[in-house]
Assembly symmetry: C2
Homo-oligomer: 435 residues x 2
């Protein structure tokens, strides 16, 4: 049974805190195995990757087959039905248009002291995107990772996607093609992450690795962090729906199930000021769970992690939501703009009943790679800036150095960093000589 | 002896690659100890922090003494000499002015389909800043971490600074006061990171932890990553100076030593197209090393990690620099603007001979917390965005849903996510009913 809480009840704070602290996922400890795989790929390169792919994906390859040829990609893409191709193209176009607005601006100015200051953004040169194979092989995730990288200006974008028993997903390859991906490797697991981070004879190393994956992939990303940049380590996913009496209980139920069907550890939470609506949503969820294709997964998620929280008013709903800091927040209320203004922590907000979260998974435009497991308190969804970095610029004139140099010297001495002070003093002495 | 390389020599590529791959720092493996400390603080809260502080800092406190009182801070700050206070105030003012320009803008627009899209930035609610105690207790680092957090809008900013044997650094407390820090705790090590991440009876938890620290602090930050956000894990620091025949060899030598004096694992690299200048810089370094206060540290850094690289021209210098992706890059050349335009990867660029790197450590304005150990390839110095996160916004109208909903449904079905498709279909059916 999902959890039922009432924000007006005296025991609410205790129960809600326990609910927030509940662990939804047991991460198996695969760290030793992953460390071994990474060391092996570093030491033996392609040979290790070929052997590990034979072992884990039951696929015998030679080193020169690790990468899909253009002809192979062409042939697979031709299998995609026209309707799906058109839908994917619409998604790519909309995602690109949204992300192009995120391109940051450089800045340069001269301040009162005469110092020229500024910064300059530049793209990461090479990025690698991990794409899961099998059941969770989502072409939409390829678009969501690859398009921001290309919009940022990444020159070399590689993806790795395992093809267990040789099965490749044509839609994933089409998504890669539409996104401008430069290289596609049919490898997966920790060995793929290691190959991207350290390079092999046939796979040049990258500077940044993004994309979702299982426990092995997550552990490998953690291990190579520092050698390369990584995106967040994704945890179990969640949706929180705030609904008032204007919401359609069927729609709310389907929106919650569209989160629950991902994964047994996914979480769907309804927060409402209307007990009648709460009952109707719960009934609608149960009805849908009778026939839904993925009813076993969605049912387990709902029973084990679902929640219904009754609140006295929408202000309280916003506060409850901020405590959760949900990955996805849907506002199925009469005035979603007002309610959105009360929210501090959420990965993405879907406003009004005409905006099901699933729109955002595919064609809305914003990214669907979002901070999970309460991390929206401190992090953002994937975006163009994740594939860029900023270089700060400073240029002193003699006048600027005269104005601010003595303070730098004073502070250097106070920190016992003599050479720092001398490097400023030498120039100030020269200026004094020059008069 | 530092490494001498000539980019025109046939063996250059091999030797330069070896130089780039050389490990400058042995990180002791303290992970098990840190795991124990974190578990202890989570389980026993203040009691654990008090005991660990007695053990590691030789300081007996009660739980209510963990935090500095305002009166204690006032008393310590009064000890700061006027000259240092004025210098620190100038630094704070300039750092604040620079970082205020980094505040990002929200966006909202309506696209061709009629969808309202956008994003909204908001600050992390609570942040914690780790400040090392003892020798590496730098007030300038307090400014560089705390000011961006406050500019971002962080409501609650706590710092932890260990006071071994009870010794507090008045300048650190003044820097905290000038930056608007809200809470100061006299604790350090992994126990301070654990207390900030998980909270204790007297220390409320934060959402993000930044700041430098030793191996214990770094290991603790890695461990709490996910529960809270962290900044980068700082590695050994480096400077690369590109100089032509217009550069003053004394100044270049002092600039390189101002990096070398930080730490034996720090690195100073000179890249020049002028062999005469190279010789003069090496001689000047040797002369300075005879008298410099921190000559043992700086000398070890120079001998073990220093390098001089001769290049045929400045274009090659830029390419060599990009391979290093230095934390600090100084351009002591006649036309620094032109050369800066050729650089892709650097944490901060200091342009022209009047801009010693030490200016940027204190009073330039840009942040001095910068990506080390080649990570400027994929990451930026600390900035206001590190204390903010972005929430994406989507709002569909019935018309927008009609336009793009069918594509979402198609893609949901192709990914075998039925509830996703149904959540869109239910709304489309309603629109069809409405006609």
């Amino acid at each position: 049974m999902p959890v039922f809480l009432n924000a007006a009840a005296p025991e609410f704070e205790t129960e809600f805190t326990a609910f927030l602290g509940a662990k939804r996922e047991d991460s198996p400890d695969v760290d030793d195995i992953v460390a071994g795989i990474i060391a092996d790929v570093r030491a033996r390169g392609d040979d290790a990757v070929v052997e590990l792919t034979a072992k884990f994906d039951r696929l015998e390859l030679t080193a020169d087959q690790l990468r899909f040829s253009e002809a192979e990609v062409d042939a697979l893409i031709e299998q995609v039905p026209a309707e799906e191709r058109v839908a994917l193209e619409l998604a790519a176009t909309r995602i690109r248009a949204y992300h192009e607005r995120q391109l940051p601006e450089d800045a340069q100015w001269t301040d009162e002291a005469g110092a020229e200051l500024g910064w300059r953004w530049s793209a990461v040169s090479a990025a690698g995107l991990y794409v899961p194979g099998g059941l969770a092989s989502y072409p939409s995730s390829v678009l969501m990772n690859a398009i921001p990288a290309k919009v940022a200006g990444v020159e070399r974008l590689a993806i790795t996607v395992p093809t267990p028993d040789g099965h490749a997903n044509p839609l994933v390859l089409l998504a890669a093609r539409l996104s401008g991906v430069d290289e596609i490797y049919r490898i997966g697991g920790a060995q793929a992450v290691a190959a991207l981070a350290y390079g092999t004879e046939t796979i040049p190393p990258v500077d940044k690795i993004t994309g979702p994956g299982n426990a092995f992939v997550a552990a490998a990303k953690r291990r190579v962090f520092g050698k390369v940049g990584i995106d967040m380590i994704a945890g179990p996913s969640e949706i929180l729906v705030i609904a008032d009496n204007t919401a359609d209980p069927e729609w709310v139920a389907l929106d919650m199930l569209s989160q629950a069907e991902h994964d047994e550890s996914a979480q769907a939470i309804l927060v409402t000021d209307d007990a009648t609506l709460a009952d109707a949503v719960v009934k609608a969820v149960e009805t849908q769970l009778e026939t839904l294709e993925r009813r076993e997964i969605a049912g387990a998620s709902w029973r084990d992690n679902g929640a219904v929280i009754l609140v006295p008013n929408l202000e309280t709903a916003a506060k409850v939501s901020d405590r959760v800091a949900p990955e996805h927040l849907e506002l199925c209320v009469a005035d979603p703009d007002r309610l959105a203004g009360l929210i501090k922590h959420a990965g993405a907000i879907f406003m009004g009943s005409w905006t099901p979260e699933a729109i955002g998974d595919y064609v809305g435009g914003p990214n669907h790679v979002l901070p999970t497991a309460r991390s929206a308190r401190f992090s953002s969804g994937l975006n163009v800036l994740d594939f860029m970095k900023k270089t700060t610029l400073s240029k002193m004139t003699p006048g600027a150095l005269r104005a601010i140099g003595p303070a730098a010297e004073t502070l250097a001495i106070s920190e016992s960093l003599e050479a720092h002070g001398l490097s400023v003093r030498a120039r100030l002495n020269k200026l004094n000589e020059l008069g």
